[in-house]
Amino acid sequence: MALAAFAVPFSGAALCHSQAAAQPLQAPPSYRQITDEIGRTIRVPQPIHRIVSLAPNLTETIYALGLQDHLVGDTDYCDFPAEAQQKTKVGGAVNPSIEAIAALHPDLVLVTKNLNRLETVQALADIGIPSYATDPHTVDAIIASTSRLADLLGAPETGSVLAADLEHQISGLHDRIAALPARRVLFVVWTEPLISIGNDTFIADALRHAGAVSVIDSSQNWPQVNLEEVVRLQPEFLIFVESHYGAAPHSADALAGLPGWRLLNAVRNRRYAKISDAINRPAPRLVSAVEDLARQLHPEAFTEEPQDDKESSKPPALALSKSHVLSDPTAPSKEQPCAR
């Protein structure tokens, strides 16, 4: 009995000891040194169990990778998919509460450069919370960024399947519309005042993949554009983003009655393309918004699909955005052979 009592603590101590001895050996694999997309080298614990996302596009990406169970917190603006709204909120993307983030004990915080602030990242670093920043400027970079993220978060297989699907969808689109002349478009971010997009945004690249080119040539990301200039350039289509935050002050249809705007041929002929706000988010769902846009701008390229076309020509923005992200890349992959 005394022996047993002696033996138990001893074996416990031995266990502790062996674990402590093993720690230095296990340490290198349990932390991983990586460089994020803004060039910072960070140390990330592996595997990652608790993730906080500080941007809607990153939240979407996490869901698309099937890692939502590891997502312990996100922002007020993370509204897609709808379940993301149930996650613990840490505030807005620009001004999240560092305290609320810390209280969630995340292994890693995900940020994106064009939305989050460096101050947030530094404040997190000061209290020892690592953060990984993405900064994609093109559709290809979004796909690459997604698979890098999948790799980092421990879902490399899902990531490569998703990336392959997205690439397949993009190349399918390319095959259909590459030969067609690009539509000259105005991407309308805001009408009062008129704000559009610059060349270096992922949206401009998304337009290119949809067979369109923005008439606005600006190095700013969100240039305020002179209406005269737009009338001079006469874009073929105006692109509006359907927002679920309620109507913009001037809905697309009201433009026809406005001085200045009514000089646009696109307004006179109601050449509007309306796409879901997936276009505003550098996440996998962007690709379905690109396809939706391509269908509206180049309907002639999508005619040889008897039953699918009817269903997806009108409400695809809603239908696609509500369906699971992974489900739609399969649709064009089936159609693609018959297009060639």
Partner: protein, 345 residues
């Protein structure tokens, strides 16, 4: 104060009108599309004769439909802000008073934002809907002046420092409320940040143009009827009262009319600073402080200043634009400091 002669008033106004004309012609010529002076003149005449088919080119339509209305808007907004600034300066006997400094612009902006938030939830006839934003802005402006006015009073007397500090603090408080509303009301109000900086690029609906034009002349006219009383008010409220001025009535008329002017200007163009502060100063230096000449010359001066500022705002970084409020602050702040250092302010 030199006695007012009609001839002097006429000369001053024609001089300023001539400058305004030159500025407008230059502003009409500059922009994204090229236009010749000859084509411009011909197009204007054919539009006046309602022969829009006879325009010289497609570009003629751009100039007539986009550039000209924007310049006219700048004229009315500039004149409104300048006249409102002149009135506040007389009313409060303070050369630093101006809608922007006193927080009245912020109050008007808050009124406009509230009206815009309420708009989709109200089932109003269309003509009332058009009036909603200007009305909200004017109401916001009036409420703010009232608040600032009471903040600035001490033992029944107006205290300059208290008044200005009260105005600045009221302004920042109201701006904070606007920020709160814009943050919580959803993403579609984010573009209003640009509007808050002062912006003349949004084409006005036809009906709103009428509201703006009629409102400006009614309010500016009402203020002008008090011009000689305002002169007497400069020597002090009690003194003016002894000289037979109905101070209460003058104050009420100027207060309401200046609120309407500020509300109209802010509802169509956001908060544009420095025009209401600086232009009356410059005009006082040039033409003296008799309100019978100061009010009209300030109106012309404000129009000239804002047309110039807006032309720069839409051309210096073409094809992009700057908010015109940034432009007026950029030019206005150094000029104001210069005037302040000269000791004339």
């Amino acid at each position: 104060m030199r006695p007012l002669t009609l001839r002097r008033l006429f000369l001053q106004c024609s001089l300023l009108a001539a400058i305004l004309f030159v500025v407008v012609v230059v502003a009409l010529k500059l922009g994204a599309v090229p236009v010749s002076l000859y084509g411009l003149g011909r197009d204007l005449i054919s539009v006046l004769l309602h022969q829009t088919k006879a325009l010289s080119s497609d570009y003629g339509m751009i100039v007539i439909e986009i550039r000209l209305p924007r310049i006219l808007l700048a004229i009315v907004v500039g004149a409104s802000l300048s006249v409102a600034g002149t009135s506040f300066q007389a009313l409060l006997r303070n050369p630093l008073a101006d809608p922007y400094v006193l927080g009245v612009s912020s109050g008007a902006a808050l009124g406009a934002v509230l009206a815009l938030i309420a708009e989709p939830h109200l089932a109003l006839p269309l003509w009332l809907l058009v009036l909603l934003t200007p009305f909200g802005a004017a109401l916001g402006a009036a409420a703010t002046i009232a608040a600032v006015y009471f903040l600035g009073r001490r033992q029944g007397q107006m205290d300059t420092a208290t008044l200005l500090l009260g105005g600045i603090i009221t302004g920042s408080f109201l701006s904070a409320i606007i920020m709160f509303l814009l943050t919580t009301a959803g993403r579609d109000l984010h573009g209003m940040q640009f509007w808050l900086m002062g912006d003349l690029s949004t084409p006005l609906q036809q009906s709103l143009r009428w509201v703006l034009g009629v409102g400006f002349f009614a309010a500016a006219g009402a203020i002008y009827t008090t011009a000689s009383d305002l002169n007497l008010l400069l020597s002090g409220e009690k003194e003016a009262m002894h000289l037979g001025v109905d101070v209460r009535r003058v104050r009420l008329v100027v207060y309401i009319a200046a609120s309407v002017l500020t509300g109209l200007a802010v509802s169509v163009s956001g908060a544009i600073g420095y025009v209401g502060l600086l232009v009356p100063h410059v005009m006082r230096l040039l033409f003296g402080s008799d309100h019978r000449t100061l009010l009209p010359t300030a109106a012309f001066g404000g129009a000239i200043a804002l047309v110039l500022a807006d032309t720069l705002a839409r051309t210096v970084v073409a094809p992009s634009e700057l908010p015109v409020g940034a432009m007026t602050a950029l030019a206005g702040a150094p000029l104001f400091i210069y005037l302040l250092r000269r000791g004339s302010a």
